[in-house]
């Protein structure tokens, strides 16, 4: 379980997040929605350990990960992240990217190669092992980023608007793929988006941020029948 307790973050005096408390259980997909600039990316970066909050704390599976005093480095948090711009490494081929991540938890070279093939297979990129990111299409890059994030076998996965730049057909495919993977991996996922279709397709629960404040945090079906505020109604298109 990821537990955020009273998270506050300021950039140069301007409040980006304030008093945000949230929980994500293993196996659950929490969609975080909000207009742009509402602090969604900042929230993910705090969970991953790239920013430290000015107030509040983060704990992951009972371990204190972030508080204003101390901070667990990102690589010891059992977390993976898919960045908004993917951040694929331009100087590595698809298989090299996976190999670099896999080295963290596997020693034997043969084992790693087998796992690379399996991961590429799970995102339908078997034939693309030797391609560099710039030789892939948008959807293929997205899938490679997915495979790279899964390679670490994370307990939790953070996704920052992962499908926002894709066409509707590729988007449908990828939503299916995420659900397939989730049915096996059972990770806790924080899924940032402002697209209501993705929320309908994927989310178990929905949290809504408005200018750094958490205004709603409900099960999806509850929120769909009773949005409770104008912002939620407009974001979810109900």
């Amino acid at each position: 379980m990821i537990v955020l307790d009273g998270i506050g973050k300021r950039f140069g005096g301007k409040e980006s997040l304030s008093g945000v408390s949230l929980q994500v259980a293993p196996g659950e997909i929490l969609a975080v929605m909000g207009p742009s600039g509402s602090g969604k990316t900042t929230l993910l970066r705090i969970v991953a350990g790239f920013e430290s909050p000015d107030e509040g704390s983060v704990s992951i599976d009972g371990v204190e990960a972030t508080s204003p005093e101390k901070s667990l480095p990102p690589h010891s948090r059992k977390i993976s992240m898919i960045f908004q711009d993917l951040a694929l490494w331009p100087h590595m081929t698809a298989s090299e990217q996976l190999r670099f991540v896999l080295k963290k938890r596997m020693k034997s070279g043969q084992e790693i190669e087998v796992e690379i093939a399996a991961l590429l297979g799970s995102v339908n990129l078997h034939d693309y092992a030797r391609r560099y990111p710039h030789q892939l299409s948008g959807g293929e890059r997205q899938r490679l980023a997915m495979a790279r994030a899964l390679a670490a076998k994370p307990a939790y996965l953070l996704m920052d608007e992962p499908l926002s730049s894709l066409d509707p057909i590729v988007k449908d495919e990828l939503e299916k793929m995420i659900l397939d993977i989730q049915s096996v991996a059972r990770m806790g996922i924080i899924y940032v988006t402002h697209n209501s279709d993705e929320v309908h397709a994927l989310a178990d629960r929905v949290a809504i941020l408005d200018r750094g404040r958490l205004v709603r945090d409900e099960r999806k079906d509850v929120l769909l029948t009773d949005p409770g505020c104008e912002l939620a109604r407009r974001l979810l298109r109900v």
């Binding site: 970066r45 790239f50 977390i79 711009d85």
Partner: protein, 521 residues
């Protein structure tokens, strides 16, 4: 918007007149059979003497490059990505050595070795001494290139690795490979600077090509010989310039608008002390030693006043002529950069590009000889005996820097912006004036000050072409040095450094304001 034809004409005419003629003249003089025969009487490229010369030249250049690679990139990383103590102050201090002209470093270490004698564990009058001095003078350059490389890396790429690995693994597998093109290109520059440098080996009495070229010309009047000696040097250097273009293909030299703020810093922990001490040693050798030694030698305040009294006209003249030189270089650089970045034809682009950076490959002394040959004739005495010859020298030597600074800025301005303006007015010059130049102001500022500072310290070419009665400060320092006027040399060198630092300070103020305005922040 396609540049109009008159632009190509002006750019070509000026370039040919100022830059190309002296170089071509020298090359063509070799085709003259008499020239080759005469040269071969004195010099054969392959006898033992020549091999020693080649060894010294390559050795010093490779050594200095290695030295700069050893110091520059690590410093850049520690200054930008870690929580190193006092890093903001250190960053400024580490740029200073680059602003002290290399021959001043050489003068200082020459002096230190005389004072310390055997206590100094290095013979400065050797290839190693030249390597040492050139490293101190040029490591900030590689550091700057590494900094701009690091700043151009999308932080998310490093963070994507930090999710799974620690900081050192991330540095090795992601950060370093992504910054490598910038670092390598900095290294190529240092190699070129080092192998074409005349002043440092001349002062430390180590025989390398540029020194030998100077000697052949000024002591033996063996012009063809001097030209023969320049050939291998120009060949190596031009090859490297090509290599460097490939490395940096489509990457800008200076990251004009900086990276985004660095959220997380690599915490050094107990390494902080060690790194800090090492940085202090570097600053001590490259900044504190020169300043301290020069002050020590310059002596009482009255000496400075005496120097100021006897040299203020040269100081003013130096400032004047380098400003004219920088402005002229900037003008020609702008024309060339526009052609290089905005021409429709790839062929035209590359012809102009390679022409514009070719002067990098020409040793300063070779250029000086070429200029003497071209301009020293009755019909053109009005150039040769005036300020113009010095200005032309500056343009010919430093044009590549202006072109690179402006072109890399222009590359970042989307041609769509110009096209949008072209919908509003049919006049190309109007678009240039109202849209392109304001957006280019950071690049123009970089170009102007780089050329100004380099010109202000220039010695290799001016030593040959400067007309009598029009001494610049570096020439005066050089002359005083040969008369053994030690305290005056020191005082004047200090003044040179102070003026250059003031110019650099002015630059950073202007540049900061301009880039803030242009980037809309």
């Amino acid at each position: 918007m396609k540049p109009p034809r008159f632009l190509y004409c002006i750019a070509t005419a000026l370039f040919v007149l100022v830059v190309l003629t002296p170089i071509l003249y020298m090359l063509l003089s070799l085709l003259n059979t008499d020239g080759v025969g005469g040269a071969l009487n004195h010099i054969s490229l392959f006898d033992r003497r020549q091999i020693g010369l080649a060894g010294n030249s390559l050795g010093t250049a490779l050594g200095a490059t290695a030295g700069c690679l050893l110091i520059g990139p690590p410093l850049a990383y520690f200054l930008l990505r870690t929580n190193l103590w006092g890093k903001n102050v250190l960053k400024v201090l580490c740029l200073v050595p680059m602003l002290i002209p290399p021959y001043v470093h050489a003068i200082v270490w020459n002096d230190v070795s005389r004072t310390l004698g055997d206590w100094l564990p290095l013979d400065v009058h050797s290839v190693w001494g030249v390597i040492f001095v050139l490293t101190l003078a040029y490591f900030p350059f590689v550091m700057l290139m590494a900094l701009s490389g690091l700043e151009s890396i999308d932080r998310n790429m490093e963070e994507a690795s930090l999710l799974h690995h620690g900081e050192w693994a991330t540095l090795r597998r992601v950060t370093l490979p992504l910054a490598t093109p910038h670092i390598l290109s900095g290294a190529v520059f240092v190699f070129i600077f080092a192998i074409t440098d005349f002043s440092v080996p001349d002062i430390l009495r180590v025989r390398v090509y540029p020194v030998e070229i100077f000697v052949q010309f000024s002591a033996f009047y063996n012009e063809a010989g001097a030209m023969m000696l320049s050939l291998p040097l120009m060949a190596i250097t031009f090859l490297l310039v090509l290599v460097q273009r490939r490395i940096l293909k489509d990457r800008s030299y200076v990251n004009m608008y900086g990276g985004r703020s660095n959220a997380s810093h690599h915490r050094l922990g107990r390494w902080n002390v060690c790194v800090f001490m090492l940085a202090l040693v570097v600053v001590g050798l490259s900044v504190a030693t020169p300043i301290w030694d020069l002050m020590e030698r310059a002596g009482a305040l009255s000496n400075y006043i005496r120097v100021l009294k006897t040299s203020y006209s040269q100081i003013l003249y130096s400032l004047f002529v380098s400003s004219i030189g920088a402005a002229a270089t900037l003008f020609l650089g702008l024309l060339l950069a526009i052609v290089i970045e905005r021409s429709r034809s790839e062929k035209v682009k590359s012809i102009f590009l390679y022409a514009a950076i070719a002067p990098l490959a020409v040793p300063a002394t070779t250029l000086g000889i070429g200029m003497i040959r071209v301009w020293n004739r009755p019909a053109t005495d009005f150039v040769f005996e005036s300020t113009w010859v010095t200005v032309f020298g500056y343009v010919a030597r430093f044009l590549p820097f202006a072109v690179m600074a402006i072109a890399s800025n222009l590359k970042q301005i989307s041609p769509r912006i110009e096209e949008a303006a072209a919908l509003a007015t049919p006049h190309w010059l109007r678009v240039l004036w109202r849209i392109v130049l304001p957006l280019l102001s950071p690049g123009l500022t970089v170009g102007f000050f780089v050329v100004l500072i380099l010109s202000f310290g220039e010695i290799g070419t001016t030593l040959l072409v400067i007309p009598p009665g029009r001494e610049t400060i570096p020439i005066k320092i050089y002359n005083l040095m040969h008369y053994g006027a030690n305290s005056m040399v020191a005082a004047l060198s200090l003044m040179l450094i102070v003026i250059i630092l003031a110019l650099a300070g002015l630059f950073s103020a202007v540049y900061g304001r301009l880039s803030e305005r242009v980037s809309g922040r």
